[in-house]
Every structure is written in structure tokens, then in C-alpha cells.
Amino acid sequence: MVSPLYILGIGLGIAFLLPLFEKLGKKIPRIITLITLMVFTLIAVSWVVMISGAVDKFPVIFNTIGFKAPFAISLQVGLIEALVLVMINTAALLSGLFLSLRKDSHWEGKQIVLFLTLVIGVNGLVLTRDLFNLFVFLEIVSISMYALIASNDEKHAYEAGFKYLIAGSIASAFYLIGVIYLYRFTGTLFIDQIVAMDLAALQATHPGLVFAIALIMLGLLIELKPFPSNGWAIDAYEASDPAVSAMISAVGASGVVFAFYKISSLFPPEMAEIVVASGAVTFVFSQLVGLRQKRVRRMLGYSSVGQIGIIVMIIGLQRILKIDDAQMIMSSAIILLGNHIFSKAGLFWLSDIFDQEQLRRVRRRPLMIVLFGVFLGSLAGLPPFPAFWAKWRMITVLAESDKLFLIIIILLGSLFEAGYLFRWFTTLLRDESDPGDIHEEQIPEDIPVSSSQTGVVSSTRALAALAENAGSVVEELPVLSVEDPTAAEKRNPVVLAVVAISSVIVIAAGVLLGAEFLRASNELLLLIPVAVLTAGILFDLLHLPHRIHLILAMAGISFYSYRILMGLDGIYLVFGILFLTGSLIQMISLYVKKSLHFGLIPMITALILSLGNLLISTTRLGFFFSWEMMTVLSSLLILRGRKASGAGLRYLLFSLGGAYSMLIGLMLYPDFSLLLQGVRDVSTPPVLAVFLISIGAMVKMGSLGLHIWLPGAYAEAENEISSLLSSVVSKAGLFLLFVTSSLYLIPLLPSGNIPVSVLLGWIGAFTALAGAFFALFQEDIKYTLAYSSMGQVGYMLLAFSLMTHLGWVTSLYMAVTHLLFKALLFLAVAGVLYRTKTRMMYQMGGLIKRMPISFITVLLSIIALSGVPPLTGFGGKWLLYTALIEKGWYLQAGVAMFASAIAFLYLFRLIHVIFLGQLKDEHRAMKEAPIGFLIPQVVGMIVIMLFSMYPSLLIGPLQRAVTPFFSESIIWEGYTVFSTLGYWNGNAVMYVTIGVFIFPLAWLLLMQRKHTRMVEQFNIVFAAERPDRPETTHFGYNFFAHYRRALGMYLTPWATRWWTGVVTLTDSLGGTMRRIYTGNGQTYAFQIILYGTVLLLLLRGGF
């Protein structure tokens, strides 16, 4: 193996000579440095290869002078050192490339020297096994960093650097005192020798020993920026050149982390616990404070601090846990470290490019969006990035060790972090016209009355006002329009390529780790969405034509579906058809789009495949992975909407919260298998676990109280996405419920005998009612449909929680039929929106004459949706009430009936206000929707008619799917289905209806065969006058005003208020917290000393 002394020796030699090289040419030092860094990286890689190739995988020791340790200082290269050095040196190399390639690069002279000494120092930190030598390298690293902070010659950089110096000096002082005392007590400085000693016995003779170790620990811990004594570090991240911040965060901090890990073997358990607490506090509070942060670099600083905090926590934990667990959890720390190194560096670089190019938004820069997405996603621990796997492993280990509290801390912190990171993302992606966080329909201030002119003006004004009031704008950069002519000149693709390398590393590492994790359970197939996504994004970046891409994607999905569905049966098959076939049909409408829509097809494809993967994943990891993939992809898809930034963020946060809740639940109940087992399982799970899992499902379904992400997400997403989300993706929650169904029969209260499912049932019933009521009062058609979906899914929840044969059949029946109607409705409405360019229903009207086919579709789907016979929706209602009454859930049945009556109201309003009434002037020349929208509609209508005529076609298979879990409750006689209560013959109803319809029609035709006269639009009996404008004659706005008058006061959005309250509280908590960062270097110094004192006092209390 190559001796690590070459890294230190040759590196330093080159660093010493760099000033001379500079005399040969300005660029020479850069090139030499980059070559040096490359050599470092290659050396480290060679170590990894050799050690992992070796049989024993033991670390190799390298001595200096020719004496063995402890007589001389020795260096150690083990697998873990080698891995860490590969990551650090690669990051350093990329940093160097970035620094030398960026526009107007001033990377020369002393900056390069210090850069190199920093890297060498970090290498030394990782390699050395001597405590004092560690101190020397620590000082090399620190001094290089102190100096580099000032390299951008800005006022604030000097301020931050000085504070950093103060803090660093105090930390060094602690460390030095600790080291000298440790030498006094143990007689050596060689770590391994000290570890081998009986420290407990030594403690007895030397009562100061533990404090000596504590001071060493404290010295390094402070360098790792524990909350709350870390204001200086955050200032430094904010004020220095972003490329330097990247180095500090990725390279410098990583070295210190490793040093901390090295000395952690000295920690007694009490100290390890304090370290755990310190790390956990740092993680969660840094993220909390970060929530409030609006300056990007400072925000990244908080994130860095938090990330390091979680690693510190793991380092403490590995001293406490059993040896196997310790190794497991340490591996996750290494993964997290690597994840942090590359993502954080990438983000700092991107923020630099951002400044260089004076960008404000990246909506039109696909590559930058991808890079941002990758780095932010990996920092937030989303799949498939490395941190996801690391956190999974960590949480598994913690769950096995019953450290629930830490799991909650980790997930809470992760949620906060995802919150502010993705708030940044959404701000970057935001369209100019996007007013930010909205979750209610935005009705133009005044209704256009006299002409379309005023309407446009007023709505623009309203939007401007909204934009002014809208939430936070993250980066306070000068406002530049996207069409800045100089923008193109400022671009620097080479630098972006460097950043892209970093992202490729992150993705590759994530995929490899994923393969490693999933191989154990033979679930490698679950990674397909990642592959598809990557390939698809590449296609998009290479401008593959939209339609070819679409056809490829659909072919791929078909093949996948074929393979998957062959292997499924029962309820799985039902959901398989729902997820895969349902989505595939809706993809047809994408054919209407002509030009490239960046990321659209890859993400939809990956989303559909992830949904499919839910069905075939057998382990918790597989399931959770697919679940999270689905969540992330859906929120990204939502974000494509023009005004969806707020809605997308909200969706992401709620879904992540739900997913984490589900995760904790699964972890709480380790014996549980994620296989559909019906309700027969009798082992009693912890009630909390059941609640948490069901919350995960209900968030996805948008159940009452957890629904506030829903309207915005469905409404602001693009039409095709809304359709897919509401008709297909929301059923994933239902699927989770089915899979975990064996949990819900446990008693709600320990002593009682009311099962949890009763609570779910009530939630479902009230969701249905609330969804219907909310839909009733919307003017915006997409909001109406969004709330409608919420209500419909509520019925499914209600039916599911009956936990009877009929209940489950009902739930599945409604899931399938809702897919049909809602997809049809969304498609038809998409066609209308495509033509009218407005979402406000009252601005439409009379469209039946312009879009007859769309009208028929809407008519059919609302008849079906509202459950009016003879169409298939009635089947759902019949099954539901029968099931409810059979079970004895009478009051729930009452609520459901009320909800369905209200649903009838908003559905009528929908069709009336859009298609009937007075046609508007601006719509007179409109055409029917494009054929791409119409084809799926016609297919859907045929299917609906078929199921209506022959309900057994649908109910039969569903019944058989459910039968393994319950005994049959309905029987068929011909076309008539009998329950214990009643019966229904869909076929006969259809014939009777046709009969009674034809009879009067014939009569009417006969009576009026000669003298029917079609009249013009305004020929109506209106006080004998002809009203002049369609706007004033069309009754559409505030249609159910009397309902609002009667019940409005009960319909205050308390759920929204509650969540707003939670957000405000968290936000202001973060706001209060950050007041400790006064900016005064002296205060920071005091905080450090106080922090140290408190930790030491805690330790003393422990002894």
C-alpha cells in the first residue's frame, strides 16, 4: 500500500513550493494543486480497493522515524479512514476544479496554498493516531480555514473570520489542557494505548482523568458547532465565499468529525450520553432555527450544523450501543457524512453560480433544477439518495435499542430541514406570477361585469396584490427579469459540469446503497423508478421529442404492468389494476402536448412504477422506499404547476410527516409484516403504532384534519397531474390501510372494547361530509373537484373501516368507480380549461353548445358520482348503506347520506355553471376539446355504461378478492344482488329507466313534431326585456349563498387554522431561538465557555 506519509510529505512540500511555482506562471500553481489533489484521491481509492480486497480487512499502521507507536507518531489506514479520505479528497478536488473554473476566478497565490494546507491538515486529522499530533493537524486545518474565510475581502468575511478565530482558540485551549493532563495520567499520547488501558482503574487513582478526556472531547465538539454555541460558525458560512464555505462545510468539518470519532473510543458511557444529547439538540434546534432563515447561505449554514449534529449523535451512540449495532450505526454515519459532503458542497456551489449569473429563478434552467433537486433531496434524506438509506439503518438500529425518543427527534429535525430546504427550492422554481403559499381558491377581486377588459385588469391587480402579500422571498437578490440579455453570457457550463459531477456521485452512491440494502430482501426491482427517472431526465436534457418519449414510457409501463399484474391476485390485483392500468389510460391525454415538458414524463413514469412497486414490496424498507418515492415524485409533479409552489411544498411536508409517522408506527411494532392478512391477526400491537400508521395512510388520503394540503395540490397542479393524483395516487393511502388492516381491530382505549376502526369510520364519514361542503362553496372548478375527491375518498375510508366483507367490497368498488368518474371529470374539465383559459366557473357558462361531448362526459360522470341510478355510482351507494346498516353504524350512514346529498348539489352546480346558462362573448368561437382529451373520455363512458348494465362484472371479482378474508355476505341471483337487507338489480333498473325515458320522449317528439322553434340565446321571458350581458344573466357566482347563510358559521376552516397555528408556533419558536445569535463575538465566546461548563457540570453530576 502507498504510505500515507506521501500524502502529508509530498503535499506539504508542494505547498511550500507553491509560491515559487507561481513565479513560473499564474496558472501553474492551480494545475499543480489539482494534480496533487487528484493523486491524493487516487491514493485513497487504492487503499479502499486494497483493504476491501484483503481477507482480514484490518487497518494498516504506518510508523514514522522507524519506531513503533507509542515511541513515534503513527498513522493508521483502515477501511473507514480510506473511505472518508476518498470522499474528502474527491470533494476537495471538485472544489479546486470549481474554484479554478468559475468566472473571474481569483483562485491564486496564498488562497491555493491555504487550500492545500487545509486538505493536508484534514488528511492528517483522519490518519494520525496521536493525540497531540491530532492537535497540530487540527491547528493546520483551523488556521487555513481562518485565513480562507477572509479570502473574499468583504467586511462581513473579516467579522466572521475573527469570531471563528476566537471560538477556535477557545476550543484549542480546551483541547490542549485536556491532552497534557491525559499525558500526565496515562503517560502516553497514543490513542490505541490509552484505549487499551483500564481507564476505570486509572480513574480511581486520578480523579481528574474523566475531565481530561472531557476537555479533549469538548475541544473537538466545539469545533463541530454544537447548538447553541455555534453562532460564529454560521456567520462564517454566511459571509465567506461560497466555494470556501463549501470547503469548510464539506472538507474541514468532515475531518474534525472523524477526529471526534477517533477520540470517542476514550469516552466513558456517561460522556457518550452527553454527546448524544448534544448532537440531538444540535440537529433539531439548528433545523428549527433554520426554518426562519431567509438568507440562503446562512440557511445552508444551519443545515450544515444540523447535519454534523446528527453525526455527532451517532458517534456518541456507537459508544453506548452493542458492538454490532454500533458498527451498523457507524456505517450510517459514514454514509451521512458522504451525503453531507457532496450535497452541501454542491448547494454552496450552486448558490455561487446563482450569484455569478445574477439569477433569481431557475424555472427555465432544467439542469440547474435537477442539480438543486438532487442536492436538496439528498440533504433532506429523500429516496433514493444515500441519506435515506443511512437514516433507515439508523432508525432500525435505534428501534431495536428502544430509543424511540431519538427516532422522533431525528424525524422531526428531518421534517424541519425538508421544510426550509424545499421552501428554497419552491421559491427558486416559482413562476413570476406565482403568489406563493396559497391553499384556497383565489377569486378575482371584482367580478368582471361590463366587458372582458375590466375583468383582465382587475384580476391582474388582484394577483399583484397577492404577490405583494405573499410569504417570504428567500434570496434577497436584485430583481432581474428572466429575459435578461446578458444572462446567457454569464452562463458557465463548465462550472455547472463540476457541480453535476458531485450530483452524479450522490446519485450513484444512493443507487449503489439502495442495491445493497434491497439485495438482502431480493427487492432490487424496486429501484426501477430511479433508473427510469434518471434515464428519462437524461432524455429530456437531450431534447428527445415529447411524443416519442411518451410512447417509450407508456410501452415501458405496459410491459412492467404486464409483468407485475401476472403475479398478483386478490386485493393486490385490484389495486394493481387501479394503480397501473388507471394511470396508463390517463397518460394518453399527455399526447395532446406537443413540445418538450421537462421532467414531466420521467416523473410520471417513475411515479406510476413506484405505485406498482408498493404492491410487490415485501419488506418495510421496500414499502417505505416506494412510498417515499411516490411522495417525492408527486410533490415534484405538483410543483410543475404555474402557481403551485406553495401547494407543492405543503404537499411535500404533509406527506413526509405522514410517511415519518407511518415509519415510527412500523418501527414501534417490529413483529408486524406488511402483507395483507385481513383482520384475523390476533396479536395486539401498541395502540400508538396503530395510530401512527393510520395517520400515514390518512394524510395520503386527505382525511379531515389532515386534508389541508389537498385542495391546493390538486388545484394548482397541471390538469393531467391533478387527475392522476386525485384518482390514483390518493388510493395509495387506502392500499396502506388494507395492507395494515389487521391492526385496526384493537381497542381504542386499553379498557374499552371499541376498536380503532370505529374512529377511522367516523373520520371517513366526516371527511365525506366536509369534502362535500367545502366543494359546495368553491368558485374555482379545480378546487371543487379537489374537495370532491377528498369527500369521495372519505367514503372509501368509511367503508374500509367497517371491517366486514361488504364493507371491503364497497371500499374497493368505490375506489375503482371513483377512478373512472374522477378521471373522466378531470379530463373533461381539462378540455374545458384548455379552451377557456380560466378556472372560475362563473366566468364560463353555456358551453354545452360549444363542447357537447365534454358535456355528455361531465353529465355521465356527475350522475355516476352522485350515485343517481341507473349508473354504476348507485351501486357504490347501495353497497355502502347496506353495509353500514348491516354493521349497525346507523349514524354514520346518516352522515354519509347527508354528504351524498350535498355532493349532488355541488355536482349540479358544476355542470350547470359551466355548460348551461348564458354563453359568454369570449367563448362564442370556441371549439370542442382536442381529440386527445376526448378519446379516453369515450372509452371511460363505455366502461361506465358496461358496469352499470352488468354490475356483477365489477362486484363479482371484488367479492372474490375479499372472500379470503371474510365470509361472503352478498349473493347473486341472475342480475340481482341480495344482501341480508335488500336487493338491487342493476340490469332491470337500466331497462326500466330506458323504458320510462323513451316513453315520454316519444310523446314529446310526437306532440312537437311540427312546431318546435329554436330561439336565440337571449330570447327569454325576463320582465319583457332583453338583458344585455351574459355576465349579468348567468346565475353562477355564490350559487348556494343560502347554504352559506344557514351553515357558514359552522364551516370555518378549523383544520387550516390549527395547522397555521402549528406552523406559526414553530416558526416563532425558531425566531425566538435564533435571538441567541447576537452577532457579538464576545457573546459567542461566552456561550462556548458556558456550554463547556454546563457539559462538564453534567458530567460531574454523572460521577
Binding site: 477572509a150 485551549a173 453562532g231 452577532g1079 457579538n1080
Partner: protein, 119 residues
């Protein structure tokens, strides 16, 4: 006895140093406080290396190799303190440079007025 004395002295200097760092407003005074702090630590290091009745670990006529053991102080802390002093100098130099730059930008030497970065 000597060890104890040096350590107490060192500890006192460390406290004085911390006190200065935490209470002086003048940047240069803070830097001086750090030097005092360092000196205290160095004193402790030297004190810890002391061996009862030991002299310097240097071989000469009075101290041939054979007499060394038991009669000289520990050379390791001496070596360490040498390194520590140099590092201290390096840090002080950097601090002073920062002080100069801060003065040119902020036109003040009071640490309380150099706090534009916060929260």
C-alpha cells in the same frame, strides 16, 4: 511542589485570560488575553513535565547518559510546549491581522460594534 505551584499559576493565568476574553471590549486586548490564556496553558504543560529535583534533559559532562534516568525532567512536555508556543504565535499573528482588517472596515476596535452578522 513545583508542579503544583506552576499549575496553580497556570490555572490563574487561564482564568485571567478567559476573563479578559469575555469582558474586554478592545479587540487587541482580547488578543492579549488569548496570549495570557496560552501562557497559562504552557505553564501547566511545563509544570506537568517536571520531575522532582530534575534538571534539563541535556547530556553534558555533569549529566552523562548513565545519570539521566531519574534526574532530568520529562522531555515530552517540553517538546509539546515548544510546538504549542509556535502554534500560539501563528494564531496570534492571524488574529492581529484580522484586527487590522476589522479596524480598516469598521473603523472601530470595540468588539461590541462589530456585529452586523447575526440571526
Amino acid at each position: 511542589m513545583i508542579t503544583q505551584l506552576l499549575i496553580i499559576l497556570g490555572a490563574a493565568l487561564i482564568l485571567v485570560g478567559f476573563w479578559g476574553v469575555l469582558t474586554r471590549k478592545h479587540i487587541v486586548k482580547i488578543i492579549i488575553s488569548f496570549s495570557i490564556l496560552d501562557t497559562g496553558i504552557h505553564l501547566i504543560m511545563v509544570g506537568i513535565g517536571y520531575i522532582k529535583d530534575g534538571s534539563a534533559p541535556i547530556i553534558d559532562q555533569e549529566m552523562p547518559v548513565s545519570r539521566l534516568a531519574g534526574n532530568v525532567v520529562d522531555p515530552i512536555p517540553s517538546a509539546l510546549v515548544l510546538t504549542a508556543i509556535v502554534i500560539g504565535v501563528a494564531v496570534t499573528a492571524l488574529m492581529l491581522s484580522y484586527a487590522v482588517q476589522l479596524y480598516t472596515f469598521y473603523k472601530t476596535v470595540s468588539i461590541e460594534q462589530i456585529k452586523e452578522l447575526k440571526w
